[in-house]
């Protein structure tokens, strides 16, 4: 690959065969493409960066579904569009929260700390066991990612990805019932 700026297709094919440097270059390029794509469609919404990260994780986990015979851009933008539509659908759902929930929330303000603790427990309970343990030790008890990795036998990367997802799942749930 002597071309200074290899096309994305070539980077993706290299990444599929395990070339980490090509993959890093690709993800950097994709993240700025995604940021532009989502920002144009959502405006200054704070969800843009979350969506960028979500889409990068999706691309990472589904990278084997890219068929090297086909144009990479079609694969990539189909995923970006899917993640955008999925986000808009979820946002619309949580925007129509029933009135009782809002009243619940207003009433709960007095016992904030108890309520917050209960909420946290409830949100944690909804997570799979492994993610729950990681959120508990890293986010609440303040253990480092490296320590958590050593103790659980997972790679630090796996811990970071699990954490990212767990926090997102919890935020989405919290957004759904309390917005």
């Amino acid at each position: 690959m002597s071309v200074p700026n290899p096309p994305l297709d070539a980077l993706m094919i290299a990444a599929q065969s395990g070339d980490e440097a090509a993959y890093r270059t690709l993800l950097k390029a994709l993240s700025s493409a995604l940021r532009g794509y989502f920002a144009r469609r959502l405006g200054g919404d704070a969800a843009v960066e979350d969506l960028v990260q979500d889409t990068l994780i999706a691309i990472h986990e589904r990278r084997a579904t890219y068929d090297p015979q086909r144009p990479f851009a079609a694969w990539f933008f189909a995923i970006a569009r899917y993640k955008l539509v999925d986000h808009l659908r979820a946002a619309r759902r949580s925007a129509t929260t029933p009135v009782e929930d809002i009243e619940d929330m207003a009433g709960a303000d007095e016992e904030l700390s108890t309520a917050a603790r209960l909420d946290l427990e409830r949100l944690l309970d909804a997570l799979p066991q492994r993610s729950r343990d990681i959120v508990r030790t890293v986010k609440i008890e303040g253990e480092s990612v490296a320590e958590a990795a050593q103790r659980s036998g997972l790679s630090p990367i796996a811990i970071r990805v699990l954490l990212h997802r767990a926090v997102k799942a919890m935020s989405a749930k919290a957004g759904n019932s309390r917005s």
Binding site: Y23, A64, L120, R160, A172
Partner: protein, 225 residues
């Protein structure tokens, strides 16, 4: 609303850190691995379904002679062709941005040829033969058994589709349903001694179509990622 929940004062993972993490996690993931997952899932489901067919129904009583008749093979070609169409569509719909037109085309072609043959058979038959040609003698359980035998294939197929990246969830679910229904119908054809093409088109077709509908209904809830 979303950024309101950060725990213990820590910020979420930054995008650069995430890219580092993902790049560090890279292992080779060749495109063929996906096709292998699909093939294994449908093969495993079909094996379970075939075992269930042998246990529940056994082979058709006239198996030895039936093998030699063209009717047996024409009857088998219908579900086999639809299974091929369904599997092509499954492979394409599981890959973002890949056109599935080939799968749809094969499916429509198979149905058109089969419908034409069925109509010809009806047109050439004497009036008193129409009823048995259309209704056969197993109409009370044919479609239901095809759907029942499709369930293991459908389950394995949906599992495999969840490993892929479908962006049109209803269509992807429908393709899994059609592929499962058609494979199941091909397996059932070995136990069933109906030979009338109008019967096969209608009632095998109904089982396959209903599995497609089931897949379309379950596509959104089961395949979201």
């Amino acid at each position: 609303m979303r950024e309101g929940m950060r725990f213990a004062g820590q910020k979420g993972v930054s995008t650069d850190a995430l890219i580092d993490a993902l790049a560090g996690d890279l292992r080779a993931a060749p495109a063929t691995s996906v096709r292998r997952t699909l093939a294994l899932a449908f093969a495993f489901g079909s094996a379970v379904s075939a075992a269930a067919m042998l246990w529940l129904l056994g082979l058709r009583p006239d198996m030895a002679t039936a093998f030699a008749t063209p009717a047996f093979w024409i009857k088998l070609m219908f579900p086999a062709g639809l299974a091929l169409a369904g599997l092509i569509a499954v492979d394409r719909l599981g890959r973002p941005g890949a056109p599935a037109a080939l799968g749809y085309g094969v499916g429509i072609g198979v149905i058109a040829v089969m419908a034409l043959l069925a109509v010809l058979q009806l047109a050439m038959a004497p009036p008193e033969a129409l009823r048995p040609l259309l209704l056969g003698h197993t109409i009370d359980h044919c479609t239901a058994l095809i759907m029942l035998l499709a369930l293991p294939i459908f389950t394995a197929g949906m599992y495999a589709m969840r490993q892929m990246a479908p962006v049109r969830l209803r269509r992807a679910g429908a393709a899994v349903g059609v592929a499962a229904g058609a494979l199941s119908a091909a397996i059932y054809a070995i136990a069933c001694d109906e030979t009338a093409l109008p019967f096969v088109t209608l009632w095998y077709g109904a089982g396959i179509l209903l599995m497609g509908l089931l897949g379309a209904l379950l596509g959104r809830p089961l395949l979201r990622w």
